[in-house]
Symmetry: C2
Subunit: 195 residues, 2 copies
Amino acid sequence: MARTAGSHSALTAPRIREAAQELFARHGYAAVSMRQIAAEVGVQVGALYNYTPDKQSLLFDLMTAHLDALLAAQAAEDRPADPMQALEAFARFHIRYHAERPDAVFIAYMELRNLTPDNFATVETLRHRYEDRLSAILSAGQAAGAFRIAEPRIATMAIIAMLTGVNTWFRQSGRLSLSEVEDVYWDMTRRLVTG
Amino acid sequence: MARTAGSHSALTAPRIREAAQELFARHGYAAVSMRQIAAEVGVQVGALYNYTPDKQSLLFDLMTAHLDALLAAQAAEDRPADPMQALEAFARFHIRYHAERPDAVFIAYMELRNLTPDNFATVETLRHRYEDRLSAILSAGQAAGAFRIAEPRIATMAIIAMLTGVNTWFRQSGRLSLSEVEDVYWDMTRRLVTG
DNA sequence: GTCTATAAGCCGATAGAC
DNA sequence: GTCTATCGGCTTATAGAC
């Protein structure tokens, strides 16, 4: 099927997503205008509305795409039967996956308050689904006697906050490689649940 | 000295600060207008400019006031000579101080990208000064043989991320009191540095 | 110190030509 | 699918009356 001159849908759609993601991460959703996104893509502002009904949907789609991909990638990982090995796999996966997508992670945490109530509820459900996977590992380890955890739900939140914190300081050009950073954080995570 | 009718400087100034803090925390700096702040205070928008030269200064002043107060409060705490006790005091202080000021904490972490470069540098200096106090405790404990820490600077970032994470889920009306939450997090912090 | 009025410009979103 | 032009409304900040 011949394509009309000026028809670039297959190219424009991902470019809009990438431009929006980078600009939202750098300046914040509310501070970025549809005109800025269009300029970054190299189209006029009206053209954006062929791909998204409004600005809010652009944000919501970025967040849900990120969380869907996170859940799918985590589900695709090996889940060792041994709780200690399962926790190590989770910790290393979490650090690696998040460190490689700082913009998407930043938006998913920082722009929650700019979602409409319905969209917020949907995103929160996805986030909880991810947290529940860590909670399940901790509970299994607790039941098996491998871990000693006073408050499993708090430990879940503490571990995720600690691991995600890597993104606030890690730089590829730094002293430590991501692999070495994984080692350090896994050691801290292991101590947290055994001690 | 008699006061002119309509002169409410001593009352208006803190009310502007409080309104800005609450609105910035709830909706984000970029999403809040000077008109919204004025409406919350109960004055017209022009009156705000008797107290702040512009919106940016309002944000900057909130952040520096928060960090200055944090540093002063931390400095006023007892600093036990024993590293383990010093770390416990720091962890408990950090949780309590941050949990009691969720709006100020939220703004200080989330609105960094909305600061001008000069203001950002100033705020980062204050934040590093606070982090350095935890690093000093960890180093002293390491030197005294009380702690076993592979990467002291990473441990600093990990502990602060973990402790500040309390604010993402803690509610006064929840199952656990703040004091009990302190106990749980201190236990995890202790494990982190000893293991 | 607060008010009203205004300047100058950007916002999200839409209509209609091509 | 992209463009230009536009609508109605909002923005920060200032000027000048009281």
